[in-house]
Amino acid sequence: MSEEQIKNLEAQFEERIARDEKIEPKDWMPEKYRQTHIRQMSQHAHSEIVGMLPEGNWITRAPSLRRKVALLAKVQDEAGHGLYLYSATETLGISREEMYEQLHTGKAKYSSIFNYPTVTWADMGAIGWLVDGAAIINQVPLCSTSFGPYARAMVRVCKEESFHQRQGYEIMIKLANGTPEQKAMAQDALNRWWWPSLMMLGPTDAESIHTEQSMKWKLKRKSNDELRQQFIDQTVPQADLIGLTIPDPDLKWNEERQSYDFGEIDWEEFWQVVKGHGPCNKERMKARVGAWERGEWVRDAAMAYSEKQQARKEKQAV
């Protein structure tokens, strides 16, 4: 294809996106669009799968049968989200095995928040309330993103995430209204998860390298800083309602902006975790790589069995 033809296709492509048309896997797309989507969607899928670990850590120790069932269902939903997102990404011409390989070698990232440890039961509440809350703010705009399979996957993911968030908040309500010990447990979880949740919405706009292109392709509708403000404005009243205190002495309602002003985020901590030196980066990778390696003989057996079955069928047909 000549350079001019490509330019023509690119122009048509951008027009389609501007008209809010969905791009489907078999449509022509610029290589950069494909690569950007593989990167973002696989990162999203990896986050779901790695995200199962911190909550999975409490399945055997959930305090009641009702909570145990809800937590199992939630973590299972995350596996389901991982499954749709990997499948949606596969439509761009990359296999799930290749994506796993990228995760296991550290080439692909996942959300840094999952590198923090879950040390008390209240962390199950805080993750649902704050982490899923921040995820929803990030993800709702993706329901109308330009790439069809991603947009459709996100519609389903967002419905389940909002259920998870309510479930997390409900754990917090129960703790906040419980014994002094339970309330302290809830406050401690909020203290530990608040700042990492704010970091989850990404580096400040000045530092964010992908934003402009992503905006054009509707992979992003608002900047990281706008999303963060939205998250804070939404969450502070929820904390007030249950008598918990946001661990930010600089947090103050700004009448003029009709928004909360908030304190400085420790970006050094953010980059430290992103670069692989958070409290649980190594454990999370070890768990994922370990499950994959331990499962190899199982997957090989399933493949060998299915080949044998196929051969038997063919033999019978003859």
Partner: protein
Amino acid sequence: MNFNLYKYILGISDNSLILGQRMGALTGHGPSLETDIACTNISLDLFGQVRSYYQYAAKIADDGRTEDDIAMLRKEREYLNVLLVEQPDTDFAFTMARQFLFDVYHLLFLTELQKNKDLTLSAIATKSMKEVSYHQRFSSDWIKRLGDGTEESHLKMQDAIDTLWTYTDELFHQTEADKIMVSEGIGVDVTKLKDNYYQKVNNVLEEATLKIPESKYFQKGGKEGIHTEHMGYLLSDLQYMQRTYPNMEW
């Protein structure tokens, strides 16, 4: 309180509780995303059943204890599950063999329990049967895949079946509470399920090209509350929150 009925219910539901706890622990660590989801699903089904049974047991006990108290605040000696379900997840072959050896029994048992004149037990059985039929299909498929897969998987599955076989006979033991319940027309006579069980199990093992173990030595004790050394650790996790923070609501 009808102590025998109470004990009888625990004898049924403790199996689901302990197996559900084992399967739940695997969430996020499965050999593939699909098997991970399926194992979590089995755990979820089992805990769903457990809740129905213990809620009923709490009603019968009528001493202020809740489903959670019954599930999480007994001493090890008071858990009445068979030894099979508490066995550890040595590898995926053990997980699937344990599941399969229990599922075949579980489905036969529920099929009988369904005919019960105790309407609550009968209703729980009917609801659970749909779930357990799926569990049995899932675990049988894996017995075949691993048994008739690669040489390595065949050896691993054979080892799992050989090791766990010793815990199968206990499924057909009757406790005193069982006998009384059977005589009252509520309990299932498990001794009558035995031949059918081994026939079904053997059929799948044969299809999976696995050898049917010949050992005639079996372990027992779980139904009387005498467990293997694995049980205490499993209960430490299960009971952790209830023991550390007594008398609180979650």
